[in-house]
Symmetry: C2
Subunit: 216 residues, 2 copies
């Protein structure tokens, strides 16, 4: 059985693995809000337990065992987020911290019953896919809003940034999951985007557009 801390490392390594293989010590340190030296210590420990493959100075990769553990944490995190939003009326910007705690509750029975209670959700309140009990993700194809061309249409189906500040901002702009949008104009100067949502014209920066995920 892994500790709370070990589980967090595995989860962070899993997320960072999406972008780059293998994962660097410093990248982990930054995400986990700790020092590189502490990360090195933990990587050795995880390697001893065969949860990661670790080569000095080269970085780290999850083993199959480590990956399954990480995915299970992600699964629980996202299921709890659905619970908080659907059943307890949390806003989508309020769920992250609480789910960070709930994701470490160990009972498999709890996870399965929760899944059932929530009616087997496929995505969490930010549009992130929820893996099944075997760790399989249904692959959803998203495009970043910043990649769309003028006049293209699409539906907001996810976000790639979960900070409360960002999510509150989107909410204020009426840019929430499921909304149909169309690109009005792309400003060449700074890459900012003018778009149409429910007949309203809205301007967002390129930085924000990069974190909004669209499906057609």
């Amino acid at each position: 059985m892994q500790s709370f801390t070990e589980e967090n490392y595995l989860k962070i390594i899993f997320h960072l693995s999406q972008d780059s293989h293998p994962v660097q010590t410093n990248a982990i340190a930054e995400k986990i809000q700790t020092k590189a030296a502490s990360v090195t210590d933990m990587l050795k420990k995880l390697a001893d337990k065969h949860l990661v493959d670790y080569v000095k100075y080269q970085g780290v990769t999850l083993t199959e065992k480590g990956k399954l553990t990480a995915i299970n944490i992600v699964r629980k995190h996202r299921l709890w987020e659905v619970f908080l939003v659907d059943k307890l009326n949390f806003k989508w910007d309020q769920v992250h911290e609480v789910a960070e705690e709930l994701e470490h509750i160990k009972s498999d029975l709890l996870t399965e019953r929760l899944n059932e209670f929530l009616d087997f959700p496929k995505v969490d309140p930010h549009g992130d896919p929820i893996p099944d009990e075997y760790g399989k993700f249904e692959d959803l194809t998203f495009i970043k809003l910043s990649k769309l061309k003028a006049n293209e249409k699409g539906t907001i189906t996810g976000v790639s940034e979960h900070s409360s500040a960002f999510l509150k901002h989107l909410e204020k702009l009426n840019l929430t999951l499921g909304k149909r949008i169309q690109i009005a104009e792309i400003i060449g100067f700074d890459g900012s985007v003018e778009l149409l949502v429910e007949n309203q014209k809205i301007n967002i920066s390129n930085e924000i557009a990069k974190h909004i995920l669209i499906s057609k």
Copy 2:
């Protein structure tokens, strides 16, 4: 903010305080599955934080601050138990361990929303009272089944033992919360009790009768 471990000590001290003032080091050690020396260490730490009043060799008492913290843990534990039974169809003998983990989730918003979602329950699945957000318990008056005389009637409204083995046994005997019972006979030899539940005659030992709580 208290640690997981500190919270557990406070909770155990709170429960033991119901029986005897002040609480002995050894009693805590036994409940918390640790050694007396470790308890002594922790009691000093809790005293430094003004969560308990501790006198060497004399035992320990919760301060007002410690008591409020402990009651908050108990409140969360019992609310989660209601959630598990009412919403996720757990059996009453399956909830304890999971609630031991869930009780440490910190969000006050979560606790209040959960309370609302569960429709402000007054008791948990074992009949234990759930304190309100200010730490006030509604006092329920229970009598141990073992204290009833022949022919007396009552309703099962609680249990004072939460082990899975005990609760499963009660369930098999059809002795669940809300059941109306009547004492048929008390066997002088060993204090065992013959009782009537829904026109069935059932025999239980005195040991079991002591852990069934009755209201009239």
